[in-house]
């Protein structure tokens, strides 16, 4: 690898040196920054601005100049409901179904995720044999591709799958899991927790191991009960890490798409259609392509994510300072 790259770098050096003579050392920093900045502007900042423009136009043409300006019509259409708790009463019912599904999903998934990650981290932090092995056992699904995860569980859960065979054998009886709306939803929560739990476990375990040993030793000297140690020492000292995990999990959970799309396709019906899938379907999957609606919905999600990311940055900064 190096034998290919080295000569290339040496050739690049010639114009770079000339440039350096013109600019001087300090301004040369911009040369290093430029590629990254151009990419970020072109594929991150410009899209945000364009997104606002798109959200105020309609039609199915992708070229902005061919799209009629409609002001806030898209937002009105999205938010128009006689009762926001009942998607059937909304003019864009699919949007509200997606929103309510996402809210339910985020609440349950983040709850279970943080709960199980904490439990697993606490257990891995005990004095156990082969900790490295067990840690990687819980961690490895994090690396699997979303489609692979979806197919693995689809294969297990299908009508003639191994889970139903087991349930038949125990006498409980099999069930067509992914055809039933509520079970399909429950399984998407399970599947995403299964796939991503290891990541949060790892962060929490690092947080647990950073708690100084002597605090525990002092507590043991005072004959504190284990339960009390957990509530009074472990949990408060772990709180900053918990906050990081919580916010990260929230940011990811709101954007859930890949696994669920490959797993249930959003169904049965719209039972597992979440907000990103709504955007994808409005903008790219169905005809006509409603780019305006998709952008308007994107902006709303972006608003939520900006708030969450600001919280995340604030939490990180506080952790570093404190």
């Amino acid at each position: 690898m190096l034998t290919i790259i080295s000569p290339i770098m040496r050739i690049i050096e010639i114009p770079m040196l000339a440039l350096q003579r013109v600019l001087g050392i300090h301004r040369f920093a911009w040369v290093f920054l430029l590629p990254n900045l151009i990419l970020l502007c072109l594929f991150a900042f410009l899209p945000v601005i364009l997104n606002v423009a798109y959200s105020m136009t309609s039609g199915d043409n992708i070229l902005l100049e061919d799209r009629p300006y409609v002001g806030t019509d898209n937002f009105t259409r999205l938010t128009e409901c006689s009762n926001h708790f009942d998607p059937n009463s909304c003019s864009e019912d699919k949007f509200w179904r997606a929103i309510w599904n996402t809210l339910w999903f985020v609440t349950l998934q983040v709850g279970f995720m943080v709960g199980f990650s904490l439990l697993t981290a606490l257990i891995l932090n005990r004095e156990i044999r082969a900790r490295g092995f067990f840690r990687s056992v819980f961690f490895f699904p994090v690396l699997l591709s979303p489609v692979v995860i979806a197919l693995i569980w689809k294969w297990i859960l299908q009508r003639d799958g191994v889970l139903n065979a087991f349930l038949d054998w125990t006498g409980v009886g099999g069930f067509n899991w992914l055809v039933d709306a509520e079970w399909a939803f429950a399984w998407t929560v399970f599947l995403t927790v299964w796939a991503h739990m290891g990541f949060y476990t790892l962060i929490l375990l690092a947080g647990l191991q950073a708690i100084p040993r002597d605090v525990y030793e002092a507590a043991l000297m005072d004959r504190a009960r284990p339960w009390r140690i957990f509530w009074r020492i472990t949990l408060p000292l772990l709180a900053p890490t918990m906050l990081v995990v919580l916010v990260l999990a929230l940011i990811r959970s709101v954007q859930t798409f890949d696994e669920v799309f490959a797993f249930t396709g959003g169904g049965p019906g719209t039972a597992t259609t979440f907000i990103i899938q709504y955007i994808y379907e409005r903008g790219f999957a169905g005809a006509p392509r409603l780019f305006g609606m998709a952008s308007a919905a994107s902006l709303m999600v972006a608003g939520v994510l900006v708030v969450l990311t600001l919280v995340q940055l604030w939490v990180n900064r506080r952790n570093v300072d404190g």
Binding site: M16, A29, L143, L151, A206, G283, L299
Partner: protein, 351 residues
Amino acid sequence: MNRVWQFITATRGQGRMDWTDWVTYGYLFLGVFLMFFPVIWLVLSSFKTEADIQRYPPTFLPYQQERVMVDGYDEPLPLYRITGGAYEGQVLAQVRRVGLQAQMVDPENPAGGRVRVDTDQREPVERVSLAVENYTGLFERFNFLRFFWNSTFITVTSTLLTLLVNSMAAFALSKYQFRGRTVVLLLVIGTLMIPQTVVLVPLFLIVTQMGMFNSLWGVIIPGAATPTGVFLLRQYMITIPDEILDAARMDKASEWKIFWRIIVPLSAPAIAVLAILAIMWRWNDFLWPLIVLTRTENLTLQLALNSFQGEMSTEWSSLLAMTVLTLLPIAMVFMFLQKYIATGIASTGGK
């Protein structure tokens, strides 16, 4: 076995199992089962023939019916054990099946002629055997190599691009004093708030206008500059002492040479972590490729797998084999670089 048990149960150096230890190990082994079984089940199932896959309840290991060559017949004939009637206990080969009866022949003595057996009075003779044809079929019937190549090309190219572009930016942000540095830093932090998922429509416009729709570059370039990567590398480069750079400048080294010959080698651990992360991001990427790549010859492995699951839901054997092959490269990376992956992900909070 006793030794193993002692090894497992020894805790806290006291040698006695507390009830909490039982709970701990119970939880851990349940975890091992829950995490590993699905993947093991996938791999085992991918070696089953289509007939074996249809079987309910399923067997754990893949089985195939035994076949033998019998004199006077061109094709190998399937073997059955007869469970009732006049030939009970014998192992016969089936020549053909007519309604509820099967014409069978004794493989030891084919000259003895055909006999008729009721189909419910026989059961197939099976043995454990791997249906490798599920895998070889992928290369013959589908453009599997093409998808594999697409995924590999995207992963390798965009990882290299990410490493180069991000390390250059990180170098500038960590080792230079220039006007506007804070602004640039804030800009990079700002992009943390803009995941691809919320700018799909305008991104689609930009990529289409640049002529990258349905091109692998349309997936590679938009994701190349990552704020996570810049921060990860910058944190590391800040710790490199400025004296080294000053000494190099005394020796009339150009800034590019300093970057390439000093900063990059010294930041190797951080760059390795970013490389692993970037490989994972790209290999597993799904939503953006789903939008940009629509032609069959452009599909990545992930996309191909997803589109085939709709078309071949009745043909699980090929689908499962393909799933295993998609999982394999990441599994290998994990096995060799496990430690770095864990620390890398924990330290950046990015995956």
